[in-house]
């Protein structure tokens, strides 16, 4: 059994808590949160030991691994503490607010041979995995443009005062670190890390202290271009929806969580695909999981983390290095977007 502790029992923390508790090879040895009403429910109703101080939890519960889902500005300090104690770390995205800190964390994790993973769950969605495979196998010829878009309704009215860390810039709130980083990471995953952010704009729609929308242009090596749009104040979509489009000399691929649509220009074929449009659906592309709560990808990423710890799977889907590359793009967008 892998002894796992969790820090942060908010929206993502509770989701991770449920999924990891259901894992047959995991024992949850502690949950740490600063909100007494949450830890009280968890300890009294669920019988799991809770803490308000994570250092105390590391000492008393001696976990093998930790899942950190705390406000973004606290990621570095907590993860560094865990790694120094030899604890494997799964960290919610984004990795850190400063790429230098992410690099440092990767150095420590590597030197101690610890599994390090970041919650970029889109990398575990079958449609995006298939898109990566097709793009990298040259199905659409030479890639010349990438486009990533994410919309959702998180902030849909003016906020008078900052209610949580998510609406405070100093704590890593905002659409850039919440929505846009997913898009950047997915674009990095499917094609490559951009060599430069050419331009960026951050726009506040309803919020006072943070941006609600992000627009950015990328440059890749070989002259490939990229465009990103993220907006969490769009009420036309029921829940966060992310779409990545890749344009190549022989066709294009448009992918979201549910569907991959491949277009091959006349006369081009690839594997079983004819020219024209072909759709592949999540129903045929997603591997099953042992426990499902809110999307296979959330279970698959934690299964992957545990498999890594148990030495069963040494492949790296996402780690502190790939997430630092994402943080570096985010940092450039932040700098250019301030205007």
């Amino acid at each position: 059994m892998v002894k796992v502790a969790l820090i942060g029992a908010g929206k993502m923390g509770l989701s991770h808590f449920a999924i990891i508790s259901a894992h047959p090879e995991v024992e949850v040895v502690g949950v740490c949160d600063s909100a007494a009403f949450l830890t009280s429910v968890i300890s009294k109703q669920l019988g799991v030991k809770t803490f308000s101080d994570y250092k105390k939890m590391f000492k008393e519960a001696s976990p093998d691994a930790v899942i950190i889902s705390t406000p973004n500005s606290t990621h570095f300090e907590i993860a560094k503490n865990a790694l120094e104690l030899g604890i494997h770390v799964f960290l919610e995205k984004p990795l850190c607010l400063n790429p230098a800190e992410g690099k440092k964390l990767f150095e420590i994790a590597s030197s101690k041979n610890l599994v390090n993973q970041v919650g970029y769950h889109n990398r575990f969605i079958g449609t995006f995995q298939e898109m990566k495979r097709l793009v990298q196998a040259g199905a659409i010829g030479d890639l010349y443009h990438m486009e990533g878009k994410a919309y959702g309704q998180v902030v849909i009215r003016p906020t008078k005062s900052a209610k949580t860390w998510r609406s405070k810039k100093s704590e890593g709130g905002g659409c850039l670190h919440d929505y846009a980083c997913h898009v950047v990471d997915l674009m990095n995953f499917i094609s490559d890390v951009p060599s430069k952010v050419r331009s960026a704009q951050l726009q506040s729609i309803f919020s006072a202290d943070i941006e609600d929308a992000v627009f950015a242009q990328f440059e890749y090596k070989n002259g490939t271009t990229g465009y990103l749009e993220a907006n969490w104040s769009d009420q036309s979509v029921r829940k966060m929806s992310t779409t990545i489009t890749a344009y190549g000399t022989k066709g294009k691929i448009v992918t979201d969580r549910q569907e991959l649509r491949l277009y091959l220009s006349p006369g081009n074929t690839f594997e079983g695909f004819d020219d024209g449009w072909t759709s592949k659906y999540i129903t045929e592309l997603q591997a099953p999981v042992n426990f499902y709560m809110r999307g296979e990808e959330y279970s698959a990423q934690l299964d992957h983390f545990i498999d890594g710890i148990l030495g069963r799977d040494t492949s790296v889907e996402t780690n502190f290095q790939t997430a630092t590359a994402t943080d570096e793009v985010i940092e450039q967008i932040a700098k250019l977007g301030k205007g």
């Binding site: 007494a36 998180v154 902030v155 209610k163 569907e259 999981v289 709560m293």
Partner: protein, 290 residues
């Protein structure tokens, strides 16, 4: 109580399609008002489908009002409400946090007790708060028949995950006590859920899960589901039998209707032709009286 065999679902009305965002968008445009939804429900009702299994969206209240106002047109119409509408809460948690969300959606006073009150009373308070949230969701259904009231899969499965099984028992107890109805549980983890419900002493529970030939979102796998359903110790409603369209309808229905021990099927469709045809195929396969 035995369940109705064929139930009408609601995903098509509310912009939910597990395979295509485009289809979802087209549907949400078509069903922007209660009248256009009601027209399809009429087609289903007239085809002999008397149960509408629906999420507790705000707009469902308008449908309930129409049913209530026309008792002679809809003498046998039943709702199986499914709560909560999780995105409402999830989006709110993203915006203002867990505590503010609970305050926003629960009547005043409860959260105050939870925050300031003695923590020793927390067990009582949590259950009280959950009961008030149930009541808030059920307000839309006053005056219509709701013989089965479901807990949505994201909540059922969250509770399964954290092993807070007593909440499932409490939901079951409260639905009986307050609404004189039976609790149902939607899940993506059917074999696990049924075992848990039995351990809680809930006999022959009502459960609803994806049941389809290709095993889409069936945790534990197709064979395990088949074995579990064939034990006949739970009333199982199959949903997503077409796996969002990944399986041709006839093939999908032949497979699912051939399962030993399956009680009911819930499906959604928008056109009268599709509704009538699907109902007829199920009736024939199950040899139901016309």
């Amino acid at each position: 109580m035995s369940l109705q065999r064929v139930l009408f679902g609601d995903n098509q009305f509310f912009g939910v399609n597990h395979m295509s965002e485009d289809k979802a968008r087209a549907q949400s445009m078509r069903f922007r008002d209660a009248a256009s939804i009601m027209k399809v429900l009429d087609d289903a009702y007239d085809a002999g489908i008397k149960v509408f299994m629906c999420t507790t969206y705000d707009r469902v209240g308008e449908i309930a009002d129409i049913i209530k106002a026309n008792p002679t047109r809809y003498p046998d119409f039943e709702f199986y409400p499914c709560m909560p509408y999780a995105h409402k809460y999830a989006n709110s948690v993203g915006e203002v946090g867990i505590l503010e969300t609970l305050k926003r959606f629960s009547p005043s006073g409860v959260m105050g007790t939870l925050m300031t009150g003695a923590m020793s009373a927390i067990t009582q308070d949590v259950n009280k708060m959950l009961r008030l949230l149930v009541d808030a969701e059920m307000k839309r259904f006053e005056g219509v028949k709701t013989p089965v009231i479901f807990l949505q899969n994201v909540v059922t499965d969250l509770i399964l995950g954290v092993k807070g099984y007593q909440f499932l028992a409490e939901f079951h107890r409260y639905i009986k006590e307050k609404y004189n109805a039976e609790a149902g549980f939607i899940t993506m983890n059917l074999p696990l859920l049924i075992d848990v419900l039995h351990d809680l002493g809930i006999e022959n529970p009502i459960v609803c899960a994806n049941v389809n030939k290709i095993g889409f979102r069936m945790c534990g796998g197709v064979e395990k589901y088949q074995e579990t359903i064939a034990r006949n110790d739970a009333r199982v409603i199959a949903m997503s039998v077409l796996a969002s369209g990944a399986i041709p309808p006839k093939e999908a229905l032949e497979w699912v209707c051939g399962l030993e021990g399956l009680d009911s099927i819930v499906f959604g469709a928008s056109s009268k032709g599709n509704i009538v045809q699907t109902k007829e195929i199920i009736d024939d396969l199950w040899q139901l009286p016309k």
